[in-house]
């Protein structure tokens, strides 16, 4: 329990330091924003007023403090420099789509990856080994953007079965979901397989077999419990980075998620939006990391004795 609490605090601290780091990196050169926000005919006084309202004359640390204060107290991430809309609204509407997409592709990848991994670890033909290892390596190497283009070409352009871009209804999630899920599932399959192979060959399984346990019991008690933790944490981490926005895939499909929001904001030099999206992703990622560690402790009691 104490360990979990400490882990929670360190996660919280990490979010703060990471957000400061992001703030520092993105800290724009003051002149730019003033120039960008007002017309060229603006007087010195007007420029000064805008700079003052944005707090640009303060030191970085002070500005960071003000920013965090408004985020924590009011949930206010500032306003977009381009559309003048509140960053919190933009992020909220984008996050919905990204969360659904991430859940969908993680679900697909887990299902496919674990099935393939377990199957290939159990089958012992001469050709299974090279086919599975080379095949999964192949899928890991597939660039998602190439795959996405192929899917668009085949399903949307040539056959008109599915729409190309947008995010209006559930059909729009299918192609991005699949393009993200396939390379992901190959990674899951590889890890599951190598893990299972190692465990199946370990002495405690041989002992369990030789003392006559049923194979159901062996799987349930000895194999799954040992094989699960690394696979779960790998899936969780990838899920976390999907939630941070999948920049390339979302951009290709014109998917209105967090990734595309971030990329577009970068092109527009709209740093409040970038900062908000980054902060949001960091919070989500750390939360997932925290729950993964807790889950790890629950799944594998040995972990709690070791240093976390």
């Amino acid at each position: 329990m104490k360990r979990i609490f400490v882990r929670f605090l360190s996660g919280l601290a990490t979010v703060f330091v990471a957000s400061f780091l992001a703030f520092l990196i993105l800290d724009y050169a003051p002149g730019d924003v003033g120039d960008r926000l007002i017309s060229e005919t603006a007087t010195e006084a007007q420029i000064a007023e805008v700079r003052d309202s944005l707090g640009l004359d303060l030191a970085v640390s002070e500005r960071y403090f003000l920013y965090i204060k408004s985020v924590l107290l009011n949930g206010d991430f500032g306003r977009s420099l381009v559309s003048q809309r509140s960053v919190a609204t933009l992020i909220y509407s984008a996050l919905k789509y990204t969360v659904i997409l991430a859940c969908l592709s993680t679900f697909l990848a887990t299902l496919l990856g674990i099935t393939l991994g377990v199957w290939s670890a159990n089958s012992s033909g001469k050709w299974v080994e090279p086919i599975v290892s080379t095949g999964s390596m192949f899928w890991i190497s597939v660039p998602v953007y190439g795959l996405a283009l192929f899917l668009v070409q085949f399903f949307a352009v040539q056959n008109h079965w599915l729409p190309v871009v947008g995010g209006g209804s559930w059909i729009h999630f299918i192609l991005p979901g699949i393009s993200l899920a396939l390379p992901f599932s190959a990674a899951v399959a590889r890890l599951t397989r190598s893990n299972l192979k190692m465990i199946l060959a370990s002495p405690h399984i041989i002992t369990a077999k030789s003392k006559g346990l049923t194979s159901h019991l062996i799987w349930h008690r000895h194999i799954v419990r040992n094989a699960l933790p690394p696979v779960v944490s790998m899936i969780g981490l990838r899920f976390g980075s999907l939630l941070g926005g999948t920049f390339v895939v979302e951009t290709i499909f014109g998917f209105p998620g967090l990734g595309r929001l971030t990329v577009e904001a970068i092109f527009d030099q709209d740093f409040p939006v970038v900062l908000g999206a980054v902060l949001c992703a960091a919070i989500v990622f750390q939360t997932i990391n925290f729950f993964l560690d807790v889950l790890h402790i629950l799944l594998d009691p040995r972990v709690e004795q070791k240093a976390l």
Binding site: L21, I25, P130, I140, P143, G146, L149, V248, I266, A282
Partner: protein, 294 residues
Amino acid sequence: MINIRNLVRINQQAQSNKKTDNGNKKLQIPPQLLVGGLLVLTILSMVLWSEHWSHFPYDQLRVGPRLSPPSKIHWFGTDGFGRDVWSRLVIGSRYTLGMAFTASLISMLPGTFLGLIAGYRGGWLDRILSRFIDLLLSLPGLLLAIILIARLGPSMLTTAIALGVTGIPAFYRVIRTETITLSMAPFVEASTLAGARTFRILFRHICPHLYPDLIVLGSLRIGTFMLAGSGLSFIGLGAQSPTPEWGVLLSEGKQFMNTAWWLWVFPAAAIMLAVFSFNLFGDGLRDWVDERSR
């Protein structure tokens, strides 16, 4: 008599064959590593001698008709400006690979150096460095790279640097753990007793043991960085348009998706094949190194 002699000889031969078989097994290179290595060598030769691989100047307009499909003269067809796609791909390997190599070096050098120091010294230095490295991991996936690119502006060098920074933790962690194990080895103790300086112990005695790990990690990283780097270029956050980087070629080809399949299929295939080669090589090498150290 002859029969028995023959039998004995056959037996001896069989035994000696067995012996060499066993002896060979340790040195035998697994097919995965062999194929991966050959592919990597081919790609490297393409990078180093691009001019000999390509048939036309990559940036010359109208070397052929516009948008002509693959033919004997233009193996991979021509693009909207009548440039030869094969030549552009070959020259493009320099940019894609170069970006990935630079990024790998940028994550390898600091990661290894810090990992060596933290692993060897331990104590507060180790704790501080490890916390700092954890910080780099606090942002998921490419996000750290993305904000660095946002700040520095998209270009090939920026993307390489940004990707490189995200790769530092992987090297740091592996090298740190290995160094902790190695620093307890008798030969380190012996050279400490012989009065060797820390610097000498780290770089003369510990570092050589880390080379296999570094090569494995490095080649796997190059694969990852190629994917990420071309992906970023593809969406416009990396190399920019006239450069024939593979991601850029792919995004240029996207405009002709319905009319000219060769403009996007070949760049995509090139990226995939190159990443596949480095992954195959790295993975095979890792298995081989593990096997040998056992």
